[in-house]
């Protein structure tokens, strides 16, 4: 095995959810000014794409960094099931106080996935739309 090489595995997942950008630390007027239409009172939704990268050694018996079935089940349990077809503001405890911008969504997903037991989480990329992408790799970025 070539130890000078680093291997990563990347996998894309999807969920659809609604959110409203509104900070309790700002006035109504400031919220409208800062967040524009994302501050509309009843929220709106996106089809999010989550790209998860993990690294590790390739097990010679399996040829894999991590069994995809294990990664899929973990991401499904930690992120997809609690986020998909939900209101991020109302249904995800982390966003009761924190504004569910995609920056914060990205960090929350990282926190949820960093304990994946079978490989090291390298980074999380979240696409809010095809044109907006956010990436978080812990505090090393």
């Amino acid at each position: 095995m070539n130890e000078a090489l680093k291997m990563e595995l990347g996998r894309r997942y999807r969920f659809s959810a609604s959110h409203r950008l509104h900070s309790s630390k700002l006035s109504e007027e400031e919220n409208r000014r800062v967040y524009g239409k994302c501050n509309n009172p009843h929220g709106h939704g996106h089809n999010y794409v989550v790209e998860v990268s993990v690294s590790g050694t390739v097990d010679p018996a399996m040829g894999m960094i991590a069994n995809l079935a294990d990664l899929d089940a973990f991401v499904e349990r930690e992120v997809i099931e609690p986020f998909d077809h939900k209101s991020l503001n109302e249904d995800v405890a982390a966003f009761r106080e924190n504004v569910p911008t995609t920056e914060n969504v990205c960090k929350e997903i990282y926190q949820r996935l960093k304990h994946f037991p079978k490989a090291k989480l390298e980074r999380v990329r979240v696409e809010e739309t095809g044109n907006n992408t956010f990436e978080y790799a812990g505090e090393k970025l």
């Binding site: 680093k6 595995l9 010679p60």
Partner: protein, 140 residues
Amino acid sequence: MVYLTRKLEFSASHLYHNPALSAEENKRIFGKCNNPHGHGHNYTLEVTVAGEPDPVTGMVLDLKELKEILEREITQRMDHRFLNYEVAELKGQIPTCENIARVIWNLLEPKISKGRLHKVRLYETPDLYADCYRNGAHGT
């Protein structure tokens, strides 16, 4: 430093099976990828070369040359092949995305005459890929 990336597609079949494991364990670990007659994918390969543009040609590496290397080393070897049986470099390995990416790295690295191979990214499907790069190099 400038990073140059070239993309290439190839289609191939494979199956996951470790002869050291029982039929039952193979089924449990590899699931439908263990189906005995194999199955196929359209792979997309992205090869990134890092270097300084040559002051005369303005190129890190002549794209034409990179295209020829990829055609000779990858397309001719893997396109429309059954990876388990027809690619010697994969003999004795499970042809997972990780292992194919590493084989591709080892095939290409000595052939890159200008700049240096920075990253190999191999997509098995649009939602699954493996990255291979030198330890310590940044992953972008």
